[in-house]
Amino acid sequence: MSYAQLSLMEQLILTLSAMILLTSFLLLAQSRIISLINTFASQGFLLFLGTCLIAQSSGRYHLYISAGMTLALKVFFVPWLLRRLVRRLDIRRDVENVGGPSMIMIAGGALVLFSYYVALPIRELSDLATRNTIAISLAVILLGMLMMITRRKAVAQVVGFMSMENGLFFAAVVSTYGMPMVVELGIAFDVLVAAVLFGIFFFQIRAGIGSLDVDHLNRLHEVDR
């Protein structure tokens, strides 16, 4: 059925998903740490909105709980933690000039296309209105990975990781109207712990290597230099 036939709600959801994708691209391009974190927070917020809408439209009210968790974790806790760490580590002014941003953008576009191509067979069989969003979420995940690959700063890598998590969560929500509750809780808990551990690690790395540049983490290798 054509897009026009969708209900407004569903159209809204799809628009949100498009915006989420946009935020991932922003993350990819964003070079200043603080604004990176802010962008990440906004992505989390969009995710939260999307979840609520789906909860509303599908009438699965336990989704509100997960939406709440998203709000708490992805919008407030993690960004807050990251900001605090950045302040503590005093790297707010850090600007990481991404190598060849245009190339990365093109690569990102290619990834979106690829994930659409991969998800193509799936959209044939789902009867949910939101089936197309699988491709989006996959793209978000892949973009997150791409970001982890292109960024040298540990913080940026963490943000990339977290945006991957966002993509996963989005996929879970839109494709299957959320996972079983216990799993949701588990995942949320994991994210929480992970975020804390990342925080610990920043300090350890800083203490051990003196910078947060992951390219300096190259003591362990097999190659004879």
């Binding site: 690829f114 191509y117 991969v118 193509l120 067979p121 892949l142 990975m145 791409l146 982890m148 690959i149 292109t150 040298r152 992951v214 390219d215 983490l217 190259n218 003591r219 362990l220 290798h221 097999e222 190659v223 004879d224």
Partner: protein, 670 residues
């Protein structure tokens, strides 16, 4: 009965392995326990194996161990009985010899326990190989043998050479084991089961059975030490304790032969003559190269190890001939070849262990392993010298000792090549026989060198001048082995008629003609084709000698022998540096067969750093230098290159994971 004796063999050997651990408080007690039990195992094995061979027994048994759906099958027939007899005989000798021989380790920092432990396990492994009747237990026994012998080679691990030798040995043993496993796997994948009886049952297509054959040839050849798979042998055998070298060289190689015969004759069944050609040519190459390399060695045990390669080659020649004839349906001749090969297994086991034990005695008493440092030992250790002489005569295939009989039988088999309709073979087989003749002659030359340089002449080093005769245990074992060498040389007819039992099972036919003329005459094909009266020869030499002696006897009364210094051509008196050295002895042969070795000579003119000049000669093994070291270097280079995967940069690692994911997604969405 026979089976119980064999069980006793294994149990006793196992006991000799583990019990000493309990007595480890006192070395003497543990040593005694170990060697007595080893001796018992040897005795019962001799009896059991002998019974199995002479009585043509055919017993199967099954032990409730192994895989849940494949229990451990055991089987005892004349073939396994024969080899069991060999193993046990030599292990008995090793037990008699070792108890006194290991005394030197007791004083040293070397703990004795590993030696006894792994010696026992080694023997257990070999015995079990003989008994195993399914691929799984065969492989277990086989690898047990390899691993325990590895530990024995590495026993004196403080020396770099031992460690290297042990490593090479274990590596090649492992590879060989894998090949054998594959061979069995091919059979099993057709028969669907791992026990030998069902493997015998299946009929394989020529291609598959040839594949299995090649796998077995490589796998067992790796252990038997055919050229060019022999390189571990001259490294591993010299460094092991001497009675272990005797076991390894004397019987472990035979275990490989056993496996090969079992695999080809028993499991594969119908044999193609092309295999025979393959085996025959491999045999020729191994024999000739083995003896040529042996000629150039100056480390006594290393030399003997190369001679093992030679003798294995001779055994393979016999097998190859037998397989050619079997493939062309001349079963009687096939039997003859097989008997020749088996007989040579027996002989080689005897004289090679004898020689290794002798070498060990020399090594222990004179602390010298380099021939160039020996000399004149016959006066210091007469018994060893006498036994060693017999060993030399036997291995040089001289009548009336045992080495000659088996080579003679091989010759006779080769001479029947005329009945083949394929005339290429008819022409090739005599050439192989000529190679055998060359091998024998060179072996004789080599052992003249060994005996002459090591026992005769003047001592070339202080150690040798002060050497003394070994203890009684070693003497006894050597004397026994020497006696056996003579026995099997003088009574070949009886022996052949016994070994025939094996052939009657493997290729269901015998050679009635061989023994038809009574115990005195051995007539492999028929009396007017060829005959050999070994007892008569012995008698003849003896009587001729006796007559001459009697005739000269009265005169000897009148004038006694005068002892005088040797004629020195007017230059000062004779000294050890005047004698021919081992190097100079083999110089002509080195010149004739030059390209065979990798030779680097350098001669330094007399100068301040080398008064009187110095001459250095290095003789290397082409196979080792050109094949094995090359492979090693290649491997290391590859590893160096492959290391880039672990480059250290986490972002690169993420790239790997990323692209793996993309690739797989692309694959599945095709």
């Amino acid at each position: 009965m026979a089976l119980n004796l064999v069980y006793l063999t294994i149990v006793a050997a196992f006991g000799s392995a583990v019990l000493p651990i309990l007595f480890c408080r006192s070395t003497v007690a543990s040593k005694l326990v170990a060697f007595i039990l080893l001796g018992i195992s040897g005795l019962s094995g001799i009896l059991g194996g002998g019974m199995a061979l002479l009585g043509k027994v055919d017993i199967s048994a099954e032990l409730p161990i192994g895989l849940p759906w494949l229990h451990c099958h055991l089987h005892l027939d004349p073939l396994s009985g024969f080899f069991l007899f060999l193993v046990s005989l030599i292990s008995l000798m090793a037990a008699i010899y070792g108890s006194a021989y290991v005394r030197e380790y007791q004083q040293g920092s070397q703990p004795l326990l590993p030696l006894t432990l792994f010696t026992g396990l080694f023997v257990v492994g070999m015995d079990l190989v003989m008994l195993a009747d399914d691929a799984f237990s065969f492989m277990i026994a086989w690898e047990l043998m390899s691993v325990s012998s590895y530990f024995l080679v590495a026993y004196q691990h403080q020396n770099e050479t031992n460690r290297r030798a042990a490593f090479i040995y274990l590596l090649m043993a492992q590879i060989g084991g894998l090949f054998i496993l594959l061979g069995y796997g091919v059979l099993a994948s057709f028969s669907g089961a791992f026990d030998f009886s069902s493997m015998q049952a299946v009929e394989l297509s020529p291609a598959w059975s040839s594949l299995a054959f090649v796998l077995a040839l490589i796998g067992f050849g790796m252990k038997a030490g055919i050229v060019p798979l022999h390189v571990w042998l001259p490294q591993a055998h010299p460094v092991a304790p001497s009675h272990i070298s005797a076991l390894m060289s004397g019987v472990m190689l035979k275990v490989a032969i056993y496996g090969f015969i079992r695999f080809v004759y028993d499991l594969l069944g119908n044999i193609y003559w092309q295999w025979g050609v393959m085996v025959l040519s491999i045999g020729c190459i191994s024999a000739i190269l083995g003896v040529l390399y042996a000629l150039m060695q100056h480390d006594l045990k290393r030399l003997l190890a190369y001679h093992s390669v030679e003798n294995i080659g001779i055994i393979y020649m016999g097998l190859g001939l037998s397989m050619i004839f079997a493939g062309t349906n001349h079963l009687e001749l096939a039997t003859l070849g097989l008997i020749a090969a088996l007989y040579h297994c027996l002989n080689h086991a005897l004289f090679k262990s004898l020689l290794f034990l002798g070498a060990g005695a020399i090594l222990q008493q004179s602390r010298e392993h380099n021939l160039e440092k020996m000399g004149g030992l016959i006066k210091r250790m007469p018994v060893t010298a006498f036994c060693f002489l017999i060993g030399c005569i036997s291995i040089s295939a001289l009548p009336p000792f045992n080495g000659f009989v088996s080579e003679w039988l091989t010759f006779q088999t080769a001479l029947q090549g005329t009945i083949l309709t394929n005339h290429i073979l008819t022409a090739l087989i005599p050439i192989s026989a000529a190679v055998l003749a060359l091998t024998g002659a060179l072996a004789a030359a080599c052992f003249v060198k060994v005996y002459g340089v090591c026992f005769l002449g003047l001592p070339r080093s202080q150690n040798c001048a002060e050497a003394t005769e070994t203890a009684y245990g070693p003497q006894l074992s050597q004397i026994l082995l020497a006696a056996l060498c003579l026995f099997f040389g003088v009574f070949p007819t009886w022996t052949v008629s016994q070994i025939e039992n094996i052939a009657q099972i493997l290729l269901p036919t015998g050679i009635p003609m061989a023994t038809s003329h009574g115990w005195l005459w051995l007539t492999p094909v028929s009396s007017d084709v060829a005959s050999y009266g070994a007892p008569m020869v012995f008698l003849g030499i003896g009587s001729a000698w006796l007559i001459v002696w009697l005739w000269l006897h009265p005169r000897r009364k009148k004038m006694e022998i005068r002892i005088a210094p040797a004629w020195d051509c007017g230059f000062g008196s004779l000294n050890a540096r005047m004698q021919y050295t081992a190097t100079s002895f083999t110089m002509p042969i080195r010149r004739i067969f030059r390209p065979v070795w990798f030779i680097s000579e350098n001669y330094q003119q007399p100068g301040e750093n080398a008064p009187g000049g110095r001459y250095e000669l290095k003789v290397g093994d082409w196979a080792w230098l050109k094949i094995y070291q090359l492979i090693g270097r290649l491997l290391l280079a590859t590893a160096k290159r492959a290391a880039f995967i672990q480059g250290g940069n986490i972002r690169i690692y993420l790239v790997y994971s990323f692209f793996t994911l993309l690739f797989l997604l692309w694959v599945v969405s095709l």
